[in-house]
């Protein structure tokens, strides 16, 4: 029994890695992905650098992290959100449903690729601020920053697991994609503190992993909070990851059941 579980785990991991590899290769030729992951965060970073100029050079790392986070979210909402829909458009969804690997595992691999390539945006923004603007960029708490990064990767993948089937089940939400990008930039505190926002928006911020992700990343990059406070953000990120992944897996089952019942796998 234990051996079987181990064998299945290995097989599942191999599928996830292979899906990630394929997705990365596909994305290299997709202009929309390149814009979302690389160009847009760089332009947001440039906007941040000039708009937060009065704050002084110590805010450069804040801009780098915040712009990178904006790239992560845009990638999640536009690319990971369509992880299932895109298979429907390509006509490959039936095949994916037919294979023994669960659809959620395949989408996990895709989201892993999207999140990892989005992390490149933080690196690019770092290079931009450091090499072109000459800002001295140092991560104040390197180890907590690395842990924060790992938690962020996991949280974004799991959030992607939630929104991909949601976009399939409710096309109205999917058609609202354009309207989801900037509101999350605002309530997540990517480039300014949420203390500036009206009080009624605070629960929305707290419910989103993007807020805790930005909080952990900013705090560990600038040592603006204690380790205990940063660890609390990690805990919330891990908990929301579990919750969102759990709901996501259930939604994937609903998607597949509905599609099979109605025999409308490519149309829903």
């Amino acid at each position: 029994m234990k051996r079987e579980i181990k064998r299945r785990g290995k097989a599942r991991a191999a599928v996830i890695i292979r899906v990630m590899e394929m997705t990365l290769k596909q994305n290299l030729t997709d202009g929309f992905v390149i814009f979302t992951v690389l160009i847009q965060p760089l332009l947001v970073a440039l906007l941040g650098i000039w708009m937060l100029q009065d704050k002084g050079p110590e805010y450069a790392i804040y801009i780098v992290v915040g712009s990178g986070m904006s790239g992560l979210w845009s990638s999640l909402v536009f690319i990971s959100g369509n992880a299932v829909n895109v298979e429907r458009w390509f006509g490959t969804l039936e095949t994916l449903i037919g294979v023994p690997t669960p659809l959620s595992a395949i989408v996990f691999g895709k989201n892993l690729a999207h999140v990892l390539q989005s992390l490149g945006s933080i690196l690019l923004c770092y290079v931009l601020a450091s090499a072109f603007f000459g800002y001295p960029l140092t991560v104040a708490m390197p180890l907590p920053f690395a842990v924060s990064l790992l938690c962020v990767v996991l949280a974004f993948i799991c959030f992607g697991l939630l929104i991909a089937p949601l976009f399939v089940l409710n096309p109205q939400i999917a058609s609202f994609q354009n309207g989801l990008e900037f509101p999350v930039y605002v309530v997540s505190g990517f480039l300014f503190p949420i203390a500036m926002l009206p009080l009624w928006t605070v629960p929305i911020s707290y419910a989103l992993p993007t807020y805790w992700a930005a909080k952990a990343m900013h705090a560990s990059a600038r040592a603006s909070e204690t380790l205990g406070s940063i660890a609390f953000s990690w805990l919330v990120l891990l908990l929301t990851s579990v919750v969102y992944a759990g709901i996501g897996v259930i939604l994937f089952r609903v998607v597949i059941r509905k599609a099979k019942e109605k025999a409308t796998l490519d149309a829903f």
Binding site: G31, F32, I34, F35, T36, I39, Q40, L43, V44, L46, L47, G48, W50, M51, L52, Q53, D54, K55, Q172, S175, F176, Q177, N178, G179, L180, E181, F182, P183, Y185, V186, L191, F192, P193, M196, L197
Partner: protein, 278 residues
Amino acid sequence: MRSDSISGSFNRRFSLIKNARLFSQGAYLSYIALFHWLQPAPYLASKIVMPLAQMFFFVFLGTFGSETLPASFFVIGNAMQMAAVSGIYGVTMAIGGDRWEGTLVYLFGTPAPRMSIFLGRASAHILDGILGIIIGFFWGWLLLGLDLGSTNFALLALAVVVTVFSTSGLGLVMGCVGLITRNVMFVNNTIYFLLLLLSGANVPLDRLPGWLRGVSRSLPLSRGIEAARLIISGGETGRALTLLAGEAAVGAAYLVVGYLLFSGFEKAAKRRGSLEVA
């Protein structure tokens, strides 16, 4: 002789009516086709929620970052920047969409005057862009405390119309680029974000390096935004009119370039037999 004159007058009138019909039909159809207008969600997302959230983001970012600029600087800039949503995305897709939908062959096969088609596609988006800016100012006034007490509204209306026209001129050029590239959304998105950076909506132009200031001046929006700020603050009318004349000239230049590109691409595609892959 008299009969020839009557016939000529009739033909001219008929041609005028035909052009007007082509213009209005092109405007109407390109408008409803773009966002599948009968479904409110894409419209609300693209035309109201996204611009509003974007405005909020930049106003909060600007007020957080700046110790010298008032919130109205960012509110006015981002309200005017809404011209780019219709002017860039709307117009580009209205022109370039024919290629993706496979209707470019039929369009180029018709004897319809190209200028009527070309301007008709843009005109509905000009009206839509004006509406977008009005919505932006309304939100700015209602939610972000924009003071319109010293505003010359007639002049502001002129600034809005001229700025939307000039931005649509750039959109027409981008639409023509969309006829020859597979990655039109990449080009569109990049131009849109470059405008956010270089139009002066969010970053005062004197903060940009000299060469980028030059680029900014060759783009639509920068003079229109400056004029709108001047008008709302009750500034000098003459200076605002000069800025708007400059903005209109930039728009007209893009319009001419767009029309020449459109005609040029058509001729080249027909000559090479590559209408769908031009």
